[in-house]
Amino acid sequence: MSPSLFADTAVFVLALLVGVEVISKVPVALHTPLMSGANAVHGVVLVGAVLVTAAAEDWWAQALGGLACFFAAANALGGFVVTDRMLEMFRARSVPATGTPGVRGPGEVPR
């Protein structure tokens, strides 16, 4: 095992533990936004897509890399925007709402 592989594996294992710790008690209303937020975070694969595309030598590998860049960018940007839209519903309201009922609250999380 090379030192760099060992370091990478250690980072992997420690990050798994952090991931377990960081999520403990989540109210049901936040399950879908949290899933969506975590989904956006794995869009970080964009970094990998950029690196391998930049380094690719064969044309078909560059094309596949370009496709990976497309996929990953959609995942990352779209993921954060859609999560933000879900969380908008949790903003504290500043306007009295008695006159305009009927706006659905965060209790109705899309399932």
């Binding site: 950029v50 560059q62 009922p101």
Partner: protein, 488 residues
């Protein structure tokens, strides 16, 4: 390390820290939006770092640069447009689609890196690269096709009911065996190119076969699970290309996604094993929303905790409380009024919907509420309540059953024709009840297994006290009211 390399490494570390902080903040409604923003900033930092790294190393082939920039630009536009335009109700399938492309990207990173000519021949890869390549392609391809099918089921493009067919399970097992064998061949360097292709195709087929037999109602849990799988695939991609930010963020999402999947399954009153066994189990009677319900099977109700309900209540505009005999039996009136007072301090409008036969005699409930000093203007009769309920965010049913039973609208039912409170007209329903037992009429109540209904199983008095404590805990940091209490 050069100065640029040092800066890149430090930026990657910063991005990882921001991802952890961001996910942490997503646990509470107060901080969730900021958490998502922190993660997004982390993503920006990571992308800036990789830009510097590519520029610093230089020598990018012009075609590669064109495809890279074009791919990122097109993906960014497609992602943002889809995220902005999709209706709130269709968001789960959109998340599933984002998960699809994320998994696809993770698999492609390994394929391109391993076979793109940077490491020399594919058959000469060291084990430290070929093993993560094999895992990444397997996990990434399974989640690519699996999430695509899941999104199709939610959208209605693929039938939402569990799709089983003879030989489905052996076929899944065979594809898994084939994918594993191919990745072993890849690691051993035997026919490495074809092995990689076979592995990818087998994994794509496996993803389809795993998700097809699972019913549409279980899809949110399945998407969460596939989300965790994508995270792990991304971490594998990080091992392939020796990149710390991919390893950290991927493992983070893999682990937190797995925990979240467990929480979701529990909240839906389903075991994770039962959900997946739509694919791996006997497959004899997976319960789907479209299939006929087995009358002997227990109703699929969603049991929640006081903390969950507290969030629903504290962030609602209008809450309609529907008290029943259970409230009086448990002497929970005072606890109910305390909860309502706390909610009104937070700016929530609280009204009481009293059914004519709530309690044990007509008007019983009005008396009980008046005794607990509920302003009578807040107490609505049947007609008034049914006018307000469609505009309410939450209907909180406390110890009532038959008076909210939608079966009464069916003339053939034993209670057919009885006027009921339309609790199911509210955006969400919370039922506080001692047990899942029957009401006075001894009938099943379809309201309880409505997907918008959450059940809080407790004695009315203790349940309401618990709710008030949970709402208090939510409101603690912002002691000042968010807006003036309503004039009553």
């Amino acid at each position: 390390m050069s100065a640029a390399q040092t800066a890149v490494r430090l930026a990657e570390l910063l991005a990882a820290v921001l991802f952890v902080r961001g996910l942490h903040d997503l646990r509470s409604p107060r901080t969730a939006r900021r958490g998502n923003l922190l993660s997004a900033v982390g993503m920006g930092v990571a992308v800036a770092a990789v830009t510097v790294q590519v520029l610093d190393e230089g020598g990018v082939h012009p075609l590669a640069l064109l495809l890279l920039l074009g791919g990122v630009a097109a993906g960014a536009v497609a992602g943002v447009v889809a995220a902005r335009r999709t209706r709130i109700t269709s968001m789960p399938q959109l998340v599933s689609l984002f998960n699809t492309v994320g998994g696809g990207a993770a698999a492609l990173v390994a394929v391109v890196d391993a076979s793109g000519g940077t490491h020399g021949a594919l058959s000469d890869l060291p084990l430290s690269t070929s093993v993560p390549v094999g895992l990444d392609v397997l996990l990434g391809a399974v989640t690519f096709s699996g999430s695509l099918v899941a999104a199709g089921k939610l959208q209605g493009v693929v039938p939402g009911r569990p799709l089983t067919f003879p030989g489905g399970r052996p076929a899944s097992a065979a594809l898994l065996a084939l994918a594993v064998a191919a990745s072993v061949a890849l690691a051993g360097g035997w026919w490495a190119g074809p092995a990689l292709a076979v592995e990818a195709l087998a994994a794509l087929g496996l993803g389809v076969l795993l998700v097809l037999p699972i019913g549409g109602a279980d899809m949110p849990v399945v998407i969460s699970l596939l989300n965790a799988v994508t995270g792990t695939a991304v971490a594998m991609a990080g091992l392939v290309i020796d990149n710390t930010v991919l390893i950290t963020a991927g493992a983070l999402v893999g682990a937190s996604g797995a925990i979240l999947t467990q929480l979701m399954a529990r909240a839906m009153n389903r075991s994770l094993l039962a959900i997946i066994s739509g694919g791996f189990g006997t497959g004899d009677a997976p319960a789907g929303p479209a299939g006929p319900r087995d009358p002997t099977a227990p109703a699929r109700v969603r049991v929640v905790t006081a903390d969950d309900v507290a969030v629903q209540l504290a962030y609602a505009r209008t809450v309609v409380v529907i008290p029943g005999f259970g409230l009086a039996a448990a002497r929970g009136q005072q606890a109910l009024v305390d909860l309502a007072t706390t909610l009104e301090r937070l700016g929530v409008t609280v009204r009481y919907a009293v059914h004519p036969v709530a309690g044990r005699m007509p008007g019983h409930m009005n008396v009980l509420l008046a005794e607990a000093r509920v302003p009578y203007e807040q107490v609505l009769d049947l007609e008034g309540a049914n006018r307000l309920l469609p505009h309410a965010d939450v209907a909180l049913v406390v110890g009532a059953n038959d008076v909210v039973n939608p079966l009464a609208r069916d003339p053939s039912s034993p209670i057919g024709g009885m006027p009921v409170l339309d609790a199911d007209a509210a955006a969400a329903v919370v039922v506080l009840k001692r047990s899942l037992g029957h009401g006075y009429a001894g009938l099943d109540n379809p309201l309880f297994d409505d997907p918008r209904t959450s059940m809080l199983l407790a004695d009315a008095a203790t349940g309401l006290d618990g709710l008030r404590a949970a709402v208090d805990a939510l409101a603690m940091p912002a002691a000042a009211p968010r807006r003036a209490p309503l004039p009553s």
